[in-house]
C-alpha cells in the first residue's frame, strides 16, 4: 500500500526532472557516490548493530513463540474468509489514510513554513496536538457525535485527523532546512506553482515525506483502540480477540507475524520509492547560514480560505475531542474510586516520556547516520530493522518484553527503566524518520572540511553536523515524547506495580465509566502535550529570525 501511495511521488521525483539536476549543493551526485563507498567507522557500525539487536528482540520472540502454536491452529485462524476481509480492510484504510494525511500534512507544513499565513506560532503548536489526544478519547468523541461515523469512512476520518502530525513534523523540519531559492528560480524560469513545487520542493522533502507516510502506515497496522470503538475490524482487532477471549498469547503472536509481514511490504515499498533518484534529490541545504534564508510568499487573497482551512483542521483534530474532555470535566464526579494523585501521575508521565524521547533519539542517531552517510547493505538493513517494532500492537510488544525481562533481566521487570526502554523500542521509528530526514539535508562535505582542518571526527560531528540536524533532533524527541505520553497498553503491563501515569489514571476511571473523574487526567495530558510544540516553536523562531531575509516577500 505504501508502494501504491509512493508511486505518485516517485513519478514526481523522476531523475530526469530538471529540478533534480539543480546543482545548488554542488556536485551532489558525485558526492553521494563517494560517501557511499567510504567505509563506515567500526564504532558507528558497532553501535548501530547493538541498537538493532535490541530492537529485534520482540520480533524474535514472536517467531519463537509462534513456532510453539502448531500449524493446525494457525491455519484454522488464517484460512478463514474473514481473514481476507480483514486484510482488505487494513490495506484500504492504510491507502486512504496515508494519502489524505500526506496531502494535509504537506500543505500545512508548506503554508506554515513558506507563506505569510497569520498565526503561524499558534498553528505550529496545534498541528502537533492531535498526537497527544488518546485514541480512546478521539474514537469515543466521534462515535458519540454521530452513530453514522463508523466503518471505513469513520475510521479513515478519525485516523487521518489523528496521524497527520506524524508526516507534518518531519516535513516541516525538512522544509526548515530546505533552500527556498531553488523554488524561486524555478518560478522565475516560468514554472507555475504546482510544477515548481513538484519539481523542486518535493525532492527536497521527499525523505521526510516518505518517512512520515511509513510511520502512518505502521501506526495504522498496530492501531486497535479507536477501531474497536468505531466498529472497524482490521487484522489487529482479530489479534486482540484471540488474546482477550482465548488468553492465547502464542496464537496472538503467530497472527502478529502477519502484521510484521505487512510492515515488511510497506518498508520494501518505501525503500524502493526512496531509492529512485537518490543522491539527486538529497542535500537541499547549501553551505552555512545561507541555509536559513527563507522566502515567505504572500498568500494575498488566499489568506482567508487558507486560514479557514487551518481553523477547520485544528477544530476537527483538536477542538472536537478537547471539547468532549471539557464537557466531561463539567459533569459531577461520579465514582468512589479513591483519587489517583494528579501530580504524581503527571510527574511519572513527564519523566518516562521525557527519558524515552532522549533515549530513542540518542539510539536512533547512529542508525540514521550510518544509513544516510554510508548506506551499504548493512546500513540499509539496520535502518529497516528500526521500523519493524512500530507495526506491532503495543500489547503484543509488551508481552514479548515481559517474557524477555522475566527470563533474562528479572531485576528490571516492572521498573521505570524497562518501561522507558520499551517506549524507546516502540517509538524508535518516529525518531529514525525525523533524524534520517534531517541528516539527508546536512552535506557531509562540511564535516569533511572540518576534519581536513584538523577537527577530530566526533568533534566535527558535534560542531558541524549536529547544529545542521538540530531541527530533526528536536522533531525526533518531540514525536517520541508525545507518543509515549499517551501510550496505554504497554504501560499498563510494564509500569511499576501501583504507579500511575496520566494515561493509566485516565484509563482507571474511564473503565468505570467515570468520565468526569477521568477527564482531569486528559486535560493535563493535553497541556503537557502542548509543551513540545511550544518548545519547537521557540526553537524554530530562534533560528531564522536572526536573518533579516526571513520576512521578505
Amino acid at each position: 500500500m505504501q508502494a501504491m501511495n509512493g508511486t505518485r511521488l516517485a513519478t514526481a521525483v523522476r531523475p530526469d526532472s530538471p529540478a533534480a539536476g539543480h546543482d545548488a549543493a554542488g556536485g551532489t551526485e558525485q558526492e553521494a557516490a563517494s560517501t557511499a563507498v567510504r567505509r563506515a567507522p567500526w564504532p558507528l557500525t558497532g553501535t548501530a548493530a547493538v541498537v538493532c539487536t535490541t530492537l529485534l528482540l520482540p520480533v524474535t520472540f514472536l517467531v519463537w513463540q509462534a513456532t510453539g502454536v502448531g500449524w493446525p491452529l494457525i491455519s484454522r485462524l488464517l484460512m478463514r474468509h474473514v481473514t481476507l476481509t480483514l486484510l482488505v480492510n487494513t490495506v484500504e484504510l492504510t491507502v486512504v489514510v496515508t494519502t489524505c494525511a500526506a496531502l494535509i500534512a504537506t500543505s500545512a507544513a508548506w503554508c506554515i513554513e513558506r507563506t505569510n499565513l497569520p498565526g503561524r506560532r499558534l498553528w505550529r503548536v496545534l498541528m502537533l496536538l492531535p498526537l497527544a489526544i488518546p485514541d480512546f478519547v478521539v474514537g469515543y468523541t466521534w462515535s458519540s457525535l454521530s452513530p453514522a461515523i463508523h466503518g471505513l469512512p469513520g475510521a479513515a476520518l478519525v485516523m487521518t485527523l489523528g496521524l497527520f502530525p506524524l508526516i507534518y513534523l518531519p516535513v516541516s523540519a525538512a522544509l526548515r532546512r530546505a533552500d527556498s531559492t531553488l523554488y524561486e528560480v524555478a518560478r522565475g524560469l516560468g514554472d507555475n506553482r504546482i510544477v515548481a513545487f513538484v519539481r523542486v520542493v518535493l525532492p527536497q522533502i521527499k525523505t521526510a515525506l516518505l518517512g512520515g507516510c511509513l510511520l502512518v502506515t505502521l501506526a495504522l497496522l498496530a492501531e486497535f483502540g479507536a477501531f474497536e470503538i468505531l466498529r472497524f475490524q482490521t487484522f489487529t482487532t482479530e489479534i486482540f480477540t484471540e488474546f482477550t477471549l482465548g488468553f492465547n498469547a502464542p496464537a496472538a503472536s503467530a497472527l502478529s507475524l502477519l502484521l510484521v509481514l505487512l510492515s515488511l511490504l510497506a518498508l520494501t515499498g518505501e525503500h524502493i520509492v526512496g531509492r529512485r533518484g537518490a543522491g539527486r534529490a538529497a542535500p537541499a541545504a547549501t553551505a552555512g547560514a545561507r541555509v536559513l534564508r527563507v522566502h515567505r510568499y504572500r498568500l494575498g487573497r488566499a489568506t482567508l480560505p487558507v486560514t479557514a482551512g487551518f481553523a477547520a483542521l485544528a477544530g476537527l483534530s483538536v477542538g472536537v475531542p478537547v471539547s468532549t474532555v471539557i464537557y466531561w470535566r463539567l459533569q459531577a464526579p461520579d465514582t468512589t474510586l479513591p483519587p489517583i494523585p494528579l501530580a504524581g501521575a503527571a510527574w511519572n508521565t513527564l519523566a518516562y516520556a521525557g527519558s524515552a524521547a532522549v533515549l530513542a533519539t540518542v539510539a536512533a542517531f547512529p542508525v540514521a547516520l550510518l544509513f544516510v552517510r554510508h548506506g551499504g547493505r548493512l546500513g540499509t538493513l539496520f535502518e529497516r530493522i528500526g521500523y519493524l517494532s512500530q507495526g506491532l500492537p503495543g500489547l503484543v510488544l509488551a508481552l514479548a518484553l515481559v517474557f524477555f525481562a522475566v527470563h533474562a533481566a528479572y531485576p528490571l521487570y516492572q521498573t521505570p527503566e524497562l518501561l522507558v526502554v520499551t517506549y524507546a523500542i516502540m517509538f524508535f521509528p518516529l525518531a529514525l524518520v525525523s533524524l534520517r530526514a534531517s541528516l539527508v539535508q546536512a552535506p557531509p562535505r562540511l564535516e569533511e572540511t572540518a576534519r581536513s582542518l584538523g577537527c577530530r571526527p566526533l568533534a566535527a560531528l558535534a560542531r558541524v553536523t549536529l547544529p545542521l540536524v538540530a531541527p530533526g533532533i528536536a522533531a525526533s524527541a518531540a514525536l517520541v515524547f508525545l507518543a509515549a505520553v499517551v501510550e496505554l497498553t504497554a504501560t499498563l503491563v510494564l509500569i511499576p506495580t501501583g504507579a500511575h501515569t496520566l494515561a493509566t489514571a485516565f484509563w482507571a476511571y474511564q473503565q468505570n465509566a467515570s468520565y468526569a473523574s477521568a477527564s482531569r487526567y486528559a486535560v493535563v495530558i493535553v497541556v503537557i502535550a502542548a509543551v513540545p510544540g511550544c518548545m519547537l516553536q521557540r526553537w524554530f523562531d530562534a533560528g531564522p529570525s536572526r536573518h533579516p531575509a526571513k520576512e521578505q516577500s
Binding site: L245, V406, Q414, P416, A470, Q511
Partner: protein, 346 residues
C-alpha cells in the same frame, strides 16, 4: 553551537529527571517491602477492589499493591511470567481466566477453611481458587420501545428475525463467553453457531466494544434489547439517577440456557513467596466484612457467603434460577472463542 549546548542541557535535564523518578519509584517499592506486602493482579472493577484492599490493610497490617488491567491482560501477563510472576494473588471478573491458569498449574491450593466459606459449586473444581461474587445474565430493554409482555422467554429467541435492528451486543466482552458455552451445552455447537449468526444479523451496526456502551444505547433507545450481566443496569442507574432510566431488567425463563450465573473469583499464584499473607487476603475476600463491602459497593454483584444479602435492588440470589452449568462446564473460554470466530464475530 549555543543551541546544541542548550539541547544537550535539556536532554541531560530530562535524563536526570527520568533517573530520579526511577530512583524514587524503586525506593518507595523497597521501603514498603520491609513490611509484609503482597501484589495483587486485579481484573475486577477497581472501585470494589480498592475498597476491599483498604479494609484488608487496615485489619491485618499487610499492605497490598494493586496492578489493574483487563482480566485477559493480567491473565496473559501471568502466563508469560510463568513461575517467576511477581503476583501473589489474581482476582478476575469471570471464571474462565482462573480456569486457564489452573490448567497451566500456575495456582496454589486455597486453604480448606476459605473454600468452605462459600458453597462448593462456586469454587474451583481443583480447589485452587475461590468464588468471591456472582453476576447473572439478564435481558435489559428500553421501556419506551418494549413492554414486559413482548420480551422473549429464552435467549435463543433473540436470534429470530423478529429482533432484527432491535438487538445490540458486545461480542468480544468476556461476559458473553459463559452464555455461549451454556447454550452449546444445552443445544449443541451447531445451534450455538446458528444463534450467534442470528445475533450478528439482528445487531447489524449495533455491535459495540463493551457492555457499558450497549447499556447506554439501550437506555437512549438506539437499541431496544440486549442480553448482558445484570450489574450494568444498576451501575448506570447509580450514575444517571432513577429518573433518567428509560430501561429495565428482566429475567429469562427459569433454567434457560442463556440465563447464566457467572462467578468472579480469586486465586493464589503457585509461585507466590507470600502465601500466608495471600491466604489471609483470600479469606478476607469471603469473610463477613469483605462480602459486606461487595454487597454495599457500587458493583452490584452477589456476595457468595451465605447470610450476606446482596444490594436490595437486586433479585435475591436465592430467587434466581439460572441454567445448571457448573464452573467446570463453563471451562476456560476456548470453545466460545472458536464459535465466535466461526460466526466472524471475533
Amino acid at each position: 553551537m549555543v543551541r546544541v549546548v542548550r539541547i544537550a542541557g535539556l536532554a541531560a535535564g530530562v535524563l536526570l529527571a527520568g533517573s530520579l523518578a526511577a530512583c524514587g519509584a524503586t525506593a518507595s517499592a523497597g521501603s514498603s517491602g520491609s513490611a509484609q506486602t503482597i501484589t495483587l493482579y486485579n481484573g475486577q472493577h477497581e472501585e470494589t477492589t480498592q475498597a476491599l484492599v483498604a479494609a484488608f490493610e487496615k485489619q491485618t497490617g499487610i499492605s497490598v499493591t494493586i496492578r489493574s488491567d483487563a482480566e485477559a491482560v493480567v491473565t496473559g501477563q501471568i502466563l508469560q511470567e510463568g513461575s517467576r510472576s511477581p503476583a501473589d494473588v489474581i482476582y478476575t471478573e469471570n471464571s474462565p481466566p482462573l480456569e486457564k491458569l489452573s490448567e497451566q498449574h500456575l495456582l496454589a491450593p486455597a486453604s480448606a477453611s476459605t473454600l468452605g466459606t462459600v458453597p462448593a459449586r462456586f469454587n474451583s473444581p481443583a480447589a485452587d481458587w475461590i468464588g468471591v461474587s456472582a453476576r447473572t445474565t439478564v435481558l435489559v430493554y428500553n421501556t419506551k420501545a418494549l413492554s414486559p409482555a413482548q420480551l422473549p422467554k429464552s435467549a435463543l429467541d433473540l436470534s429470530s428475525p423478529a429482533w432484527r435492528g432491535k438487538f445490540g451486543f458486545a461480542p468480544t466482552e468476556t461476559d458473553l463467553q459463559p452464555v455461549i458455552t451454556s447454550i452449546t451445552r444445552a443445544h449443541g455447537q451447531a445451534a450455538a453457531l446458528a444463534w450467534l449468526k442470528g445475533l450478528k444479523a439482528n445487531a447489524g451496526s449495533n455491535v459495540y466494544p463493551d457492555n457499558e456502551t450497549v447499556m447506554s444505547k439501550i437506555n437512549s433507545g438506539q437499541v431496544q434489547i440486549a442480553l448482558i450481566n445484570n450489574y450494568y443496569w444498576y451501575r448506570l442507574r447509580l450514575q444517571l439517577g432513577a429518573a433518567a432510566m428509560h430501561s429495565a431488567v428482566a429475567h429469562l425463563a427459569a433454567g434457560d440456557s442463556g440465563y447464566v450465573l457467572d462467578v468472579s473469583g480469586a486465586g493464589i499464584l503457585a509461585s507466590s513467596k507470600h502465601k500466608t499473607a495471600a491466604q489471609k487476603f483470600l479469606a478476607f475476600l469471603v469473610s463477613a466484612q469483605g462480602q459486606a463491602i461487595i454487597a454495599h459497593s457500587d458493583s452490584y454483584e452477589y456476595p457468595l457467603r451465605p447470610g450476606v444479602a446482596a444490594a436490595a435492588l437486586l433479585t435475591p440470589l436465592s430467587q434466581l434460577s439460572p441454567a445448571p452449568d457448573t464452573i467446570a462446564d463453563l471451562g476456560d473460554g476456548a470453545l466460545p472463542l472458536t464459535l465466535l470466530q466461526q460466526a466472524q464475530l471475533g
